[in-house]
Chain length 302, copies 2
Amino acid sequence: MCILVVGSVAYDTVETVHERRERQLGGSASFFSLAAALYAPVRAVGVVGDDFRQEDLDLLAAHGVDIAGIERRSGSTFHWSGRYHDDMIERDTLATELGVFADFRPQLPAGWADTPYVLLANIHPDLQFDVLEAVADPKLVVLDTMNLWIKTTRASLERVLRRVDVLLVNDSEARLLSGMTGLAAAADAIMAMGPKRVVIKKGEHGALFFGPEGVLAVPAVLLSEVVDPTGAGDSFAGGFLGHLARVAAHRDDGDAEFREAMIQGTAVASHCPEDFSVAPIADLTSEDVAQRVAWLRAMMTP
Amino acid sequence: MCILVVGSVAYDTVETVHERRERQLGGSASFFSLAAALYAPVRAVGVVGDDFRQEDLDLLAAHGVDIAGIERRSGSTFHWSGRYHDDMIERDTLATELGVFADFRPQLPAGWADTPYVLLANIHPDLQFDVLEAVADPKLVVLDTMNLWIKTTRASLERVLRRVDVLLVNDSEARLLSGMTGLAAAADAIMAMGPKRVVIKKGEHGALFFGPEGVLAVPAVLLSEVVDPTGAGDSFAGGFLGHLARVAAHRDDGDAEFREAMIQGTAVASHCPEDFSVAPIADLTSEDVAQRVAWLRAMMTP
């Protein structure tokens, strides 16, 4: 079944200890769409500037992403620039130039209001709320957010969280949002805000799932080399919600398919750091994902 | 089957944001012995000063630990003092007073040379080597070490590693010892130094096992409160080697019992941070461990 994603379509300039790549395709909606398109049809809503390369739109379209919701406006595409530390985990943001993204107001193309699966990527929670208002009775809504919105727009975030089925956050965001140090307590507090299920991402330490039937801990795939981890979290979301859309999971179902979605998301995300930008996700096949799923299952079997 | 442990028997002064506890029983051999004694008979080799409380020796003995190898010498017992940060993970060492431990030369009591399971806790690698020289044909040797020895006594450490079956280290130690950033590559490099199997401990992120049959990732139990994490790594070692001794595992066996030992070690260690000093490990029952093992299995089952 079809997935709607609303998020950033951006250009990233990434520096690592080895290399620097300028203005490569990035943004949460780009990584998510390419990952989720392996599983189900994807409809992308976003905005780009008049500097945005046609080939990048073509790439998304060639992977089966419906780009009718990506508006082109006069101005610059959202540009993020960052430098990774030696550990390839910590990073410093060097520049965030919002460009046309500053005035982004998500508009759903005609006929998209009935999309059953919705991924509200990391944008202002009021815009996430507006998108939910425009969608009619979705089967499942997944939301991603970040420290900025938790700190500066908490009331708005809490408003949208009441209508969300699954929250995806990293460990520091979970602690900030909940005020709790222990991650189980943090997840409980977040579930009391609305989401029935919570995913806490821990980067190279894997991810935790909290649902009505308990906790699942999924390790990260052990990578021999990390080239550029940018977009791994959005790729995780793509594999996670992609799987749920493929099996037509509903919020009132049991946890089983959500737990399987954790494995799928982790397997997809594990490919992301292997090269710059969206290249590893754009090149991904179902066989590649299945191989990593097998690795993860072996790593999780006592 | 019987386990020999050689390590420190110490007094710890621990400060947390909430509390300060002075000169409580600590040391790698104390935590290890109490944990392993749940599984198999333990013989402890160490040294204490004339300030060491008889009640602490009695505690070990009452748990079935043979303390005939704990020598009492004139001087002060090894005293470690540290302060935990707010996160209850990072800590600063405030003082390390070696006392009688400075001249510690492990001596095996008569009849202990045939002990089949050996845990060489974190002491100078030359002393670890001397112990191995004194033991006749052990079934399994497990070694723990630390950054200090990796940095300052690498040749000695490499000499003893060639005779070790399982190395227990944390992630930063694995990287320092191997020179590799990726933990799979680090484990491979360490296995090339001698140990057939490597355990990389990651604290609140769990632990990784590397063996001939592959990798196992065990998550940490999610704790609601951390009072004092001191000794968790040694308690892990106790559950790990305790299980292997109980089932009489041999180094040439398959990985199955070693993978089970990872679960047992993690379950035992999860109790350690729930109170100060050895109290949670001394109070532990097999039922307590079994409950945490069940939690871990549920967390690992997709």
